[in-house]
């Protein structure tokens, strides 16, 4: 066999991940751990330089929890600042900041680089996929996913089919999630889809309860865990999501639904101003240092 490796990828899936933030790194670790090659792209070279160490930490947690398939060699990681790598990908996963304008700009650029028929995935917690589909060259190729953090420990992913998403793209995203051993639950397009539409206003209320002095963060989580069976508690979940991302996501939903329950609470805004962004900054509702 002497086929050109760029014509015929050695594995059925070769990913380009755009954005080396919390989710970009987590998705990259998930894919590498399942043997898929990943090209991780970020505009910030410093961030890319740290990505290797961050991915190693993710692997350690995955290993501790026995979350990766035994005997599967890790996929190879390449990092770079140019999205041109997407031309050789079978699928592109965009995981940049939760801002419709930023995501639209990145998706527009990458959709001009990929081979037609390449799956384009926007990983978003709240932005309607069809809003972003307007920015790409072939809207039928765009699908939404909402991976939870950390993606390799959570077996289910929310998949969002936009009004213009085509059947081949839906088949491709199912195949990709199958290779990553994630269960896909497909839902219709809407601000916040299912999980964020339900969870984020609840977290917002949990923050208001703390803000009003009704209970401490620890007690709110203890009640939600102990009485209502929430696995981690809403405020520990907020720290895991990242408070800045949570606020961005609440704003996206507030702007589009007018639901006042989605207006970010004063306490969330204050934590962001103070740089207390949750686990990723070492401190949020809780201290992780």
């Amino acid at each position: 066999m002497t086929t050109d490796p760029y014509e015929e990828p050695p594995t059925p899936h070769a990913l380009t991940v755009l954005g080396a933030g919390v989710m970009g790194v987590g998705i990259t670790a998930l894919a590498l751990g399942h043997g898929l090659p990943v090209h991780l792209v970020d505009v910030d070279q410093d961030r890319l330089d740290r990505a290797g160490d961050r991915i190693d930490s993710e692997f350690r947690l995955a290993e501790l929890m026995g979350a990766l398939p035994a005997g599967t060699p890790l996929g190879t990681l390449v990092t770079g600042t140019s999205p041109k790598a997407a031309a050789a990908a079978t699928a592109v996963i965009e995981a940049v900041t939760e801002s419709a304008a930023t995501k639209a700009a990145v998706l527009s650029e990458v959709s001009a680089l990929v081979r037609p028929g390449t799956l384009l995935v926007t990983n978003t917690s709240s932005i309607p996929v069809d809003e972003l589909a307007g920015a790409v060259e072939r809207p039928e190729e765009l699908v939404g996913t909402h991976f939870m953090n950390p993606p390799y420990l959570i077996g289910t992913a929310e998949v969002v089919r936009g009004a213009r998403t085509g059947d081949p793209a839906m088949a491709a995203v199912r195949s990709l999630l199958g290779a990553l051993r994630r269960r896909a639950v497909v839902v219709r397009d809407a601000p916040g889809f299912v999980t964020s539409r339900i969870l984020h206003p609840m977290i917002n209320d949990a923050a208001r309860v703390v803000q009003e002095g009704t209970a401490t963060a620890e007690d709110v989580d203890a009640l939600m865990q102990g009485c209502l069976g929430h696995p981690t508690g809403p405020l520990r979940t907020a720290d895991l999501i990242g408070i800045d991302n949570l606020v961005d996501s609440l704003r996206v939903m507030h702007e589009r639904t007018g639901d006042d329950g989605c207006r970010p609470s004063e306490l969330l805004l204050r934590l962001v101003r103070e740089g207390r962004l949750g686990r990723k900054s070492g401190r949020g509702f809780y201290d992780y240092t």
Binding site: R60, L61, E63, L64, M65, G66, P231, T232, R236, R279
Partner: protein, 99 residues
Amino acid sequence: MTTDSTPDTPDSPDINDLEKELLGFLEGHTGTPWDADTDLFGAGGLSSLFAMQVVVHLEKTYAIAVRGADLRLDNFRTVRRMVELVDRLRVPATGDLHG
């Protein structure tokens, strides 16, 4: 306690101190007192992310590296098991360079 199985040299701090330090660390971070034999990660227990915090804490505090087959949740289920692991890893066999 099975201190008789481990030689008590001036270089290996006491197992009891290790257990006490770990219980203190857990109580400090969870706001709840724990027993050395309680399954920390069983139903209603601590999260996997906290487990990783514990691993990092042990590595930093005792200058050990938890790698390969040692890095599995079973080794961190109880304070007693963590003490065993730390005690084993901080006196590695001569010439055993890994990681």
